[in-house]
Amino acid sequence: MVEITDVVCSLCGCVCDDIVVEVEDNKVTKVKGACAVGKSKLMGHGRIESPAIRENGSLKDCSYDEAIKKAAEILAAARRPLLYGWSSTVCEADKVGVELAEEIGAVIDNTASVCHGPSVLAIQDVGLPSCTLGEVKNRADLVIYWGANPAAAHANHMKRYSYISKGYWTEEGKKNKKLVVVDVRKTATAKMADVFLQIEQGKDYLVFSALRAMLYGYEDVVPEEVGGISKKDLLETVRMMKEAKFGIIFFGMGVTHTGARHNNIVNAIQTTRAAHTHTKFNIMPMRGHYNVAGINQVCTWETGYPFAVDLSRGYAWYNPGEHSATDLLVRRECDAALIIASDPGAHFPGESIRHLAKIPVIQIDPFPNPTTEFADVVIPAAISGVEAEGNVYRMDNIPIRLRKLVDTEYMADEEIMEGILEEVRAIKGKESE
């Protein structure tokens, strides 16, 4: 048995890096310090066992070489290919993805498109006053979760970084901190809150506006009730915000994908700036996948833009809503797709999935998921953070290197992508001869 410390969890945007695992006979046998979901990922579960190509409706096992070659043929022949996913793999693989997109003039998009894409649009509008999670741990005496339920979705977030954590000016943990939760229902996180603001569905924009007005001293314009929350409670929240030494708003899908969507986030950021005129105040999106922040980073430094990048012109063209993955699919514009480290089969709107099911789809993933059901080429990958190493970016954009814990026969995402790129270049080389 070997004990490995400082293991980095490759599940959610928390990227906990203090996990201890035991490895016996090349298998992870024990996991300490991870949350239940992280533990399940590190321990391993049912996976895609062999590369496969769909023939007459059913997947037939094949070799890696055959699958990679088939994938390359599909992509090289496509007129409007889409390369989608990238958030649950390492930056090294993402980089090859961008290069492949350039090579074949593809649209490259990532899961932020259906997740914190609206947050990105808001940041492009007004910027983002933020910080690393350690800043929150050491300084924050007011933590606000808005449309986010870390107790369920980011189980170690409060313990490691925010409400329950202990730091330099917060050595007594939650004792001298306040927790405010804004949500449409009384979530597990809300039950812990000092103040729970039960907001009406889709009224986030109004409530941000009310808080902002109050923070700028215009409380007289705020009516007695906004979005189901009483003026009294809003005033109390504003008092807490002003009196805090260091406040932070963490926001989740509950705000990005309801009502005013990206305008909610613009308003959330402007509320943060309003609070910043009184005290130190920051805001941070609760990123989901462990490296969704990373694909945004890689895509930005390589193409100039974080998601929904169209390389069909030879240079990067960025217009989310026009050629983000779902829009492209709804318009039935794309004629082949490579899906890596994600599951649009489960998460895209029905209309997009219907088109995806009709076109050739290549899937690269360690695990089967609904996308596997219609994929035409399935390529199993090593599990990053268990069987392969590489760089990832935590939700606060801090880069951390995933460790390799056990050996594997499976190819890493990066190797698979390089194989496809090489094959595509070979095909295109022959065509141009």
Partner: protein
Amino acid sequence: MVEGELLIRNGVVYDPINGVNGEKKDICIRDGKVVEEVRNPKVIDAEGRVVMPGGVDIHAHIAGGKVNAGRLFRPEDGRKGREAKTKVCRAQSGYSVPNTFATGYRYAKMGYTFVMEAAMPPLAARHTHEEIVDIPILDNAAMPLIDNNWMTMDYVKSGDMDLLAAYVAWIIKATKGYGVKIVNPGGTEAWAWAKNCDLNDAVPYFDVTPAEIVKSLAVANEKFEMPHSIHVHGNMLGHPGNYEVTTSTYDLVKGIKPYRDRPTMHATHTQFHSYGGTTWGDFESKAGAIADYVNKNEHVSIDLGSVILGDTTTMTADGPMEYSLYQITGRKWTNHDVELETGSGITPFLYSGKVSVHTIQWAIGQELALLIKDPWKVALTTDHPNAGPFIGYPIIISMLMSKRRRDESAADMHKAIYDRAALPSIDREYDLYEIAIVTRGMTAKTLGLHEHGKGHLGVGADGDVAIYDISPEERDAGRIQKAFLNTKYTIKGGEVVVKDGEVVATPAGKTYFVTPECDEKLTDEMMEKLKDKFEHYYSVTFNNYPVQDAYVPNPYEIKAPWRS
């Protein structure tokens, strides 16, 4: 580096480190290095053209978290520099925040072969290195921020300079960094509480002053045979009347002896620190006072931070400064404070020749270059992209070389330039030798890179050469600017990477990093305190913190022994 021989024939060579001033001579390169002679070379005919060593940029923000945050939140900037992929080049985007590929190509086209990334947050050092790997052609290095770090301030307070040196050594090694970078010492830590610090204010909760931090880090830096001095962005950047803070900061290190013949402090983007007046209303140039100080002293070198008119993206670890700027413009603002270490702020900015303050800022950068007598104390920079993008260097070169061009430009700008700046009254014009000093000779020497083959063309130097398509007699400012924007040839390690202004090859650059060698006992003692910081305050573990070798695929190590 490529194998084989190259002969650059009959160029007019400007190689200040070797005292070569416009001599017609051949440059011989074998296996990537300059040699005495070659036998069967490929020949480049440089007949009558200006030949210089590859350019060395001492200070630019080209890679890492805040550069990328700048790209991310400015798609409108990305749209400005679009160029499609070619057989050789990746797709390009951006003007003030170009993508990594464009960054490499554009510098190479200007004849540059080395760029120093000026500010690397230690906790995010992996990010800086990841981007550097994606910058083609350029050799590079990055300076970690070490001044707002809790470890640093703890030792400054206790006065343990040896332990401070041990920490400095550890963090430079852990980040694969090049030297000690200081940005608004104490002020950025104060910004974590939305406050700021002047030079002699106490940093909240830490009971030390910025002045003490600067002085202590200079002492710690000189305990090793460090190639570079401390690299300082002082307090109160961008505030009217800050020039006295600037000279007071210079004074701090006056008595500290450098390990070799270089200054004890490099003061960066000095334009932003040379302001008179008390408000933006009576704002005026104090470049004269700064130049006077630099002329009379030997312990300080500077770079300009010269303004390029137009839109740009400002970014710095000086969080409170960016907040002030954003409050002036009302444009978008991003901030990212980094636990126990540093922070950063980013906001777009437009320098307009119709605005009095911007016009005076524009004058100050050039005044510094022209009023400081010895060009070996001056480096040409725009603090890319803060005072303007690096792609504007050829504009500054043409201004420094042509009084006529400066006068013509001033005539179109706000009239404040005639009564609150000195530029119109300065007659000096740089010659090509002086241009070569401020763009390669001085910068390589100040960084200590001349001993590692950079910034000159002596035997043994790297085969990095820029051939500009002008004759030494050229006086037309427009033609000078054009020539310095796109070389006839840029040669990197003996390989032609740019020909007739087009990138023709994209070899990977080397990453230079320094290994300060510290006594084990001191390191062990320091380590106890450091591990406690990780145990209780960092959000990343001690073992996951140092930059792994995988992030630096083309390393060039410079050892810096402890000075006994």
